[in-house]
């Protein structure tokens, strides 16, 4: 249904969202396949279905704003402008990876784009994000920190302590719940009487909103609102962004806790499909231009895999580098004879 009303975002913005989200989707599909083929090990938590959350977040923030998230972090660097080959190389544990192959899937860091991790301990980054915001305020910048967490992380005690201090001290932080309704096999309603997570803000007087996380425009608007609020010195906000993960929690999840119909109902409101429809219906790009985007994405995915496969593993001595700042730290060496 083509409408005549003016679109709220530019043509360039829609095309960028489409390309970024498609790139994340295709990279993640490939990552899933490569994991099953045992090309890399460890955990592998895919971002498929949640692409609009990071795409809308990045478009609504500045290059100097800071971002921190949990372990479901493959999409963040890509949306923030890092070539996916460095993310893929990290999955492979290669020296060319984002964290030199030391962090793996759960620990994507990039100082270049202000991504302060990928964190594997559920909830840890809630306080870290507030601390990052604390430093921005202390230094007198206008930057904010987008602090993402899962719906499961919301039940950690650290949230209470952090929310209270962040409000008290008016820290420039946007707390973003990537609410995909499940923490492993546990649904939101099984963990609390408070099922509407935006209500959590109330007891701290923290402004909060629920957001449709399948619509990148909605995510963008909400982040924009929250970031402006924080930038203006008014303190944190809480966003309950309702999204969905199409795949299991990690790669070994039989998913008995949800129905196929439920998964299907979300796929019908797929964020990438919706953006593509907007582009097509409003003739923001012709078939040729769309095809070009898809080709570019495909080429980047292939380049990424090749790069990851052909890169070197870190040298054994790397084990002793970065544990301390000192290069000559006197380690006990009883691990090898």
């Amino acid at each position: 249904m083509a409408t005549k009303t003016k679109l709220p975002f530019s043509k360039a913005q829609y095309l960028k969202w489409y390309e970024d989200m498609l790139l994340i989707r295709r990279i993640e599909e490939k990552a899933g396949q490569l994991y099953i083929q045992q090309k890399f090990g460890g955990f592998c938590h895919l971002y498929i279905g949640q692409e609009a959350v990071v795409a809308g977040t990045v478009s609504a923030t500045t290059k100097d704003d800071k971002h921190i998230t949990a372990y479901r972090d493959h999409g963040h660097p890509i949306a923030m402008g890092i070539h996916p080959k460095y993310m893929m190389a990290e999955l492979f544990g290669k020296s060319t990876g984002m964290s030199k192959g030391k962090g793996g899937s759960m620990h994507m860091f990039s100082k270049e784009v202000n991504l302060l991790g990928g964190h594997g301990i559920v909830g840890a980054q809630i306080a870290l994000g507030a601390g990052i915001a604390f430093a921005e305020k202390y230094k007198g910048t206008k930057n904010v920190c987008i602090t993402s967490m899962g719906d499961g992380a919301v039940r950690q005690g650290i949230l209470h302590e952090t929310f209270n201090m962040a409000m008290n001290w008016k820290l420039p932080v946007v707390f973003l719940i990537e609410n995909n309704n499940y923490a492993m096999g546990t649904s939101v309603e099984r963990t609390s009487n408070v099922k509407d997570l935006s209500e959590i803000g109330e007891s701290y007087d923290m402004p909060a909103k629920s957001v449709n996380g399948m619509k990148v425009e909605d995510v963008h608007d909400a982040i924009k609102w929250g970031a402006e609020h924080a930038r203006a010195g008014k303190g944190p906000v809480l966003l309950d962004v309702r999204t969905y993960r199409y795949k299991g929690h990690s790669m070994s999840d039989p998913q008995k806790y949800r129905t196929k119909e439920e998964v299907q109902s979300y796929k019908e409101q797929d964020p990438i499909k919706m953006v593509l429809e907007t582009i097509e219906q409003n003739k923001l790009a012709g078939q040729k231009a769309i095809q070009n985007i898809q080709d570019r994405v495909k080429a980047k995915v292939e380049e990424s895999i090749q790069f990851a496969e052909q890169s070197e593993e870190p040298s054994p001595e790397e084990l002793y580098i970065d544990n301390y700042v000192e290069a000559d730290y006197p380690f006990i060496r009883d691990n090898k004879f």
């Binding site: 192959g101 559920v122 096999g185 593993e313 544990n323 691990n335």
Partner: protein, 326 residues
């Protein structure tokens, strides 16, 4: 004899104890409806119901404290951590509450509780998900620490832990849950604080515990082919430490190698080495040797994991060094 998996042995231990004692219950993340993140509690929700097999939110500090409180008030909780890395969030309630309750209350309130779950590295899970906490908890008076290495020991020791009147940490491994071993039908209990001499030999003692003892076994087999007969002690319990078994063996072989999977600094091997030099100095014919994980955070990449961990050949070399054969 019947052969079952490590996870089944744990499941049997918990289920048998829950059948015989109504005060025993299990709680933790994904233990009930999901049947356990590693399927250790498979079927237990069906048998015991949601009052006794309880899913918690991701809230380690809170549910651990609730467990300790319940223990103070007459129940016997089993708290499962998805891994011991996440018990770090609950360390306050384990160390400040459970460990000290009996002493602080002048003997009025104890905390008979079991904290269990996988411990140590399990492949490419990176720094925060790969830690061994035996020494960390063994440091604390008031706690007992158990590290079984096979299904038989796991069952007998977990039952003992559940019946114990003190807070007990029971450390397993994701990498052992599928291990199979002989476990008799019917009930048995193994004593806490008693090491197991799993192999006798006159040439050199190797002390180890937990999953890395598999490497020790391989090393002992290889050394036997070369005519070197080692004695292997599986500690099974870290605290209280079975010093008697250790000293008896060292007095016999006069040589000691310790193999553990945790970091070297202030570790279990450090403590054993102190005790041995103090109590059996005159019996030692060579310096004590040890192999541990690297003195670094555990990295993700395969090449770095290989570098971080001792291998069979390192254990063999350490034994030969202790025997002045190099």
């Amino acid at each position: 004899m019947r052969i079952i998996q490590f996870r089944e042995a744990l499941n049997e231990a918990m289920s048998e104890e829950m059948r015989r004692d109504e005060r025993v219950f299990l709680m933790g993340e994904e233990v009930a409806e999901y049947n356990g993140a590693y399927k250790v509690s498979q079927g237990m929700l069906d048998e015991f119901g949601p009052e006794r097999v309880i899913d918690t939110p991701i809230a380690e500090l809170g549910f651990t404290g609730i467990g300790v409180g319940a223990a103070m008030n007459g129940l016997r909780p089993i708290v499962e951590f998805m891994t011991f890395n996440f018990a770090v969030l609950a360390a306050d309630q384990i160390i400040n509450s459970a460990a000290k309750m009996l002493q602080m209350s002048g003997g009025q309130y104890g905390a008979p509780i079991v904290f269990r779950g996988p411990n140590g590295q399990a492949g490419q899970l990176a720094a925060t998900h790969s830690q061994s906490f035996e020494a960390f908890y063994a440091h604390v008076p008031g706690l007992k620490v158990i590290t079984p290495s096979n299904p038989y020991d796991a069952k007998g020791l977990l039952k003992a832990a559940i019946r114990d009147e003190n807070p007990v940490l029971f450390m397993e491994s994701e990498r052992m849950y599928g291990d199979k071993g002989e476990v008799p039908e019917g009930e048995y209990i193994l004593p806490i604080g008693k090491a197991d001499v799993t192999r006798e030999g006159p040439d050199c003692t190797i002390i180890s515990f937990g999953k890395i003892i598999k490497l020790v076994k391989n090393a002992a087999d290889e050394l036997a082919k070369e005519g070197i007969k080692v004695e292997v002690i599986d500690l099974r319990t870290i605290r209280p430490l079975d010093s008697e078994t250790i000293m008896n063996s060292v007095k016999k072989t006069n040589r000691l190698v310790i193999v553990e999977e945790s970091w070297p600094f202030a570790s279990i091997s450090s403590e054993i080495s102190y005790q041995v030099q103090n109590q059996a100095f005159d019996y030692l014919d060579a310096p004590i040797r040890r192999l541990t994980q690297s003195d670094t955070s555990f990295a993700f990449s395969k090449s770095l994991i290989k570098e971080a961990l001792p291998e069979v050949k390192d254990i063999m070399m350490a034994v030969k060094a202790a025997m002045y054969l190099l």
